[in-house]
Symmetry: C3
Subunit: 160 residues, 3 copies
Amino acid sequence: MSAEDRVRELGLAVPDYADPPYGGRYGKVKPFHREGNLLLLSGITPEDREGNRLHPGRFGLDLTVEQGYEAARMTAVNALGLIRLAVGSLDKVTSIGRNLCFLRTTDDFEDLHLVSDGVSQLFIDVFGPVAGVAGRASIGVSALSRRNCFELWTEVSVTP
Amino acid sequence: MSAEDRVRELGLAVPDYADPPYGGRYGKVKPFHREGNLLLLSGITPEDREGNRLHPGRFGLDLTVEQGYEAARMTAVNALGLIRLAVGSLDKVTSIGRNLCFLRTTDDFEDLHLVSDGVSQLFIDVFGPVAGVAGRASIGVSALSRRNCFELWTEVSVTP
Amino acid sequence: MSAEDRVRELGLAVPDYADPPYGGRYGKVKPFHREGNLLLLSGITPEDREGNRLHPGRFGLDLTVEQGYEAARMTAVNALGLIRLAVGSLDKVTSIGRNLCFLRTTDDFEDLHLVSDGVSQLFIDVFGPVAGVAGRASIGVSALSRRNCFELWTEVSVTP
């Protein structure tokens, strides 16, 4: 089963970043950068195309790990939309590279990895246990734009 | 008009990292890494070559967004110097890839993107609205070296 | 003298990530990603293979710079194990690219670069003053998984 098949089977609501065109809210930024087989994605957040945020807040203060997992999973679904925009189809992904996960946390929050699992598991669900499994780091920070609780910076290998 | 032409027209004070040679203050680090067409830049701060910092401090506490925009813009001008050192001329840039922007902030600062716009706009001013527009993430953190308010980690595509 | 020779001479305890296989504690993650000559490493911490952490804590509060240097150096030794796992031998490294160093700090900690020097110096000790010297950024953050004091995200160029 292909990645596009799995997305259909899972019923994921992958956003279409072509319509309306990506950009706007954060000034002049682009949705992806490609260099050779490397697709570089940045600044992906748990927001829908109207700017509604899923679980804005801070881990350790007013958000549970379960809410974080949901937000991380939505962020990864948004990443699927960016990959489609960049290369046309998820079936052109050869493997997910690294996920750098930023979480808005208090100083004493420790379960960062349980939140980031929302990204990792979604990519495994879609791309399978070989191509979908990626490197990762989870970093707890003071602030993210618009009080988002999660932001993803990621690197993906795609076919030529 | 080429990127080098625009730099001249804008009258930007791009530092010469060859004289004196880059390095020193932060120990044994190099100014850039190149792998194929990918130029990887790191640890760029709003400091001049004598180590004078523009607006050290913290957003949400003792710095305004306007000061941050200035510091971010100066950081991007410093990046131009590193690109020149790496590939000889700004005209060899095919496009800016991603800007990972770290800001020293309080926990409740929200306008990170307005600060990072200082980087994005400078690259657009120099490289134009196609090659200059990049991906971006803005991350609010507790500490940066020497109390700098801003630090840039960026990826640039260059001609072979 | 080759990098593998230097590791032997320095008596470094480089972990074997093949036995037991890498993974487990942080869920479904992989030890490295390779795209062409670029080796992308992520989430490296000062932990041994049993999960024992060197100096968990926070800079500016309960850790000294000397402890941080030790933790950063151990993290870089762990990176050597990941490089071996990825490409078979340290002698296949052509140069270290960039080290993105995350440190768990208080808001007023300033000596981040003195901690990150533990990574930079270890790579120079092993790969020499040309191939071992890398770009770097040092970022002070609120939280890292399992209260680790240090986490490394790094990029390495290797032979085809």
